[in-house]
Amino acid sequence: MNNDTLIPYIGVVTDIRQDTPDVKTFRVVSPEGGKVFEHMPGQCAMLSIPGVGEGMFSITSSPTNKEFMEFSIKKCGCLTTWLHAMDVGQQITIRGPYGNHFPVETDLEGKDLLFIAGGIGLAPLRSVINYVRDNRSDYGDVQIVYGSRSKDDLVDYKEIIDEWMADEGIEVNLTIDNPQEGWDGHVGFVPNYVKELNPSINKTVLICGPPIMIKFTLAGLKELGFTETQVYTTMELRMKCAVGKCGRCNIGSKYVCKDGPVFRFDQLDELPDEY
């Protein structure tokens, strides 16, 4: 019998990084070493601890990383609490990759890119950002606007400071919600910060974060003159199968697991407002 996508592979957790008080990044390789499977930026995988649960997580590492995959996971439910409590060396089950991906080889090529993220919303965009950094000549200028509740809640802070900010042609704008001792950067919410920064409207935008942030940021972008065909996002709904059969992650006729998770806002406009 052929392999069935519902039967998972084994992954070994080889590194756990505490990113923020409630976000950890897990490094996963196959028991034989190397990646369990290849993916494209924006795609997801189903991770599970048998007996605890299975859930869909975006693959936060770039496919240009040839050694391992990474998942940045916020502790918020049964499975994620278990994942946060485990130690290095723990095996998990993994299946995928699932869904479409950001159009890094087509629509995004040659474009100036504006990444906008809030909180854990950086996780799926980090895959694209590092993909773009590793294929730098294929893209124009890169601007990253990233905000969180506090300095401690900025995911991948070390990588942002040490690597992204050190790159030429990448502008990083960080912001936190409220003033904090030891923070001399911008303070304020992401939607307002984007408007203040007044980015050039020829940029292609990739946005991910809490729904309320996306809503107000999109409105602000439109005020600046951006159109919905320039703005991509990635969605999340409850999933069981990850292949468009279990019937629960649909927005109208589209399944987030297989037709998404990446959508352009003009595509979402044609779908019912139920997410």
Binding site: M1, N2, N3, D4, T5, L6, I7, P8, Y9, I10, P50, G51, V52, G53, E54, C76, G77, T80, D87, G89, Q90, Q91, I92, T93, E236, L237, R238, K240, C241, V243, G244, K245, C246, G247, R248, C249, N250, G252, S253, E270, L271, P272, E274, Y275
Partner: protein, 339 residues
């Protein structure tokens, strides 16, 4: 046409069940019809249809997908799949036969569901034409002819004999396997019976129901309809409609710790349930209105949008007779009809 006399049905069932498992609709002690594994002496039900649909044969209510052994930090994945054995489902009605091709569009689409596929490959569907359609029947609305059911092979009764016809190789194999019991028969009386049934079908109260207002291109119009509030108001969210529906295929995946390992199961689920879409950070379908709307939008709009216009309903009428508050797809279609 090849036929067998009705009084030889027992012989027929014995012959089929000698080589493979046979399921037939039979009457329970309480009079309700259900599919059961054939055993000597079991009688074919005279009921129009079974209470539960026939989807269980290919998409069982619960099934074990995979097992895991946990030892320290290690996990072992145990593939427990087995090739299905050959079986025959006899007496499937036209509506339920069509439901299989609808389920095929879900489970056999890439990536193919191997659990479903093996049962589909090993199951032979022998359909049985209707002669007494009821007032809750509306298969004709979805282009289904109750007097010419699909399936691998079909059979018709003229009250005295059962006539057989193969629709494909698998069906021909089935007929060949019982050919020693069959004889050539005159179909004049059968044609009369079919004609009579056709005229009943035309006069059924729901025969005039129209699908014209529905389809994949009507998504926003129907989704934003103001009628959903009133339609869903008394829905109890009990999920009976999805349980008896031959095309409802939403499922859940859940693990069970046996004490000796973990068994992962697939179970039927229902979009009518409040936790169906509930996530750690919220629920996009908060009230019964959204859940109710999802079920009917899926059958009448989303499914056709993804399947060349084919609707996700076969008009079997089970939800009409089983819903505790007498709400059903017919009322929804009438309410949303664009005049």
């Amino acid at each position: 046409m090849l036929k067998i006399s009705i009084d030889k049905l027992d012989e027929l069932f014995e012959a089929i069940s000698a080589s493979q498992t046979l399921y037939i609709p039979t009457d329970r002690e309480d009079g309700a019809a259900e599919y059961r594994k054939y055993e000597s002496g079991m009688k074919l039900s005279n009921a129009l249809n079974t209470v539960r649909s026939a989807k269980d044969f290919f998409f069982p209510q619960t099934e074990n997908l995979v097992d895991f052994k946990m030892e320290g930090k290690n996990i072992e994945v145990i593939d427990i799949r087995k090739e299905s054995e050959d079986f025959v489902i006899f007496g499937v009605r036209a509506c339920d036969a069509r439901s299989f091709t609808i389920l095929d569009k879900v489970f056999l689409a890439e990536p193919v569901d191997s659990y479903y596929k093996t049962r589909r490959e090993h199951g032979t569907v022998v359909t049985m034409a209707c002669t007494r359609p009821s007032e809750t029947c509306f298969c004709g609305v979805f282009g289904i002819d109750a007097t010419a059911p699909e399936g691998d092979a079909a059979c018709w009764s003229d009250g005295e004999s059962f006539f057989f016809e193969a629709h494909n190789e698998k069906g021909q194999k089935f007929i060949d396997s019982i050919s020693s019991l069959l004889e050539d028969g005159d179909t004049a009386k059968l044609e009369e019976t079919r004609e009579k049934t056709r005229s009943i079908l035309k006069k059924l109260p729901l025969a005039g129901l129209s699908t014209e207002s529905f389809g994949g291109d009507r998504m926003m119009e129907h989704f934003n309809s103001e009628k959903w509030g009133e339609l869903s108001e008394s829905c109890l969210g009990c999920g009976t409609c999805t349980f008896v529906c031959p095309t409802c295929q939403c499922y859940d995946i859940k693990d069970f710790n046996t004490g000796h390992g973990i068994k992962r199961f697939r179970c039927w689920d229902s979009c009518m349930y409040s936790d169906f879409t509930k996530m750690a950070h919220g629920n996009p379908r908060l009230t019964q209105l959204e859940r109710f709307r999802q079920r009917f939008m899926h059958k009448l709009v989303y499914f056709p949008a993804n399947n060349n216009g084919e609707f996700g309903c076969v008009g079997c009428g089970r939800c009409l007779s089983k819903c505790p508050i007498s709400m059903n797809i017919v009322k929804v279609m009438k309410a949303l009809e664009v005049k």
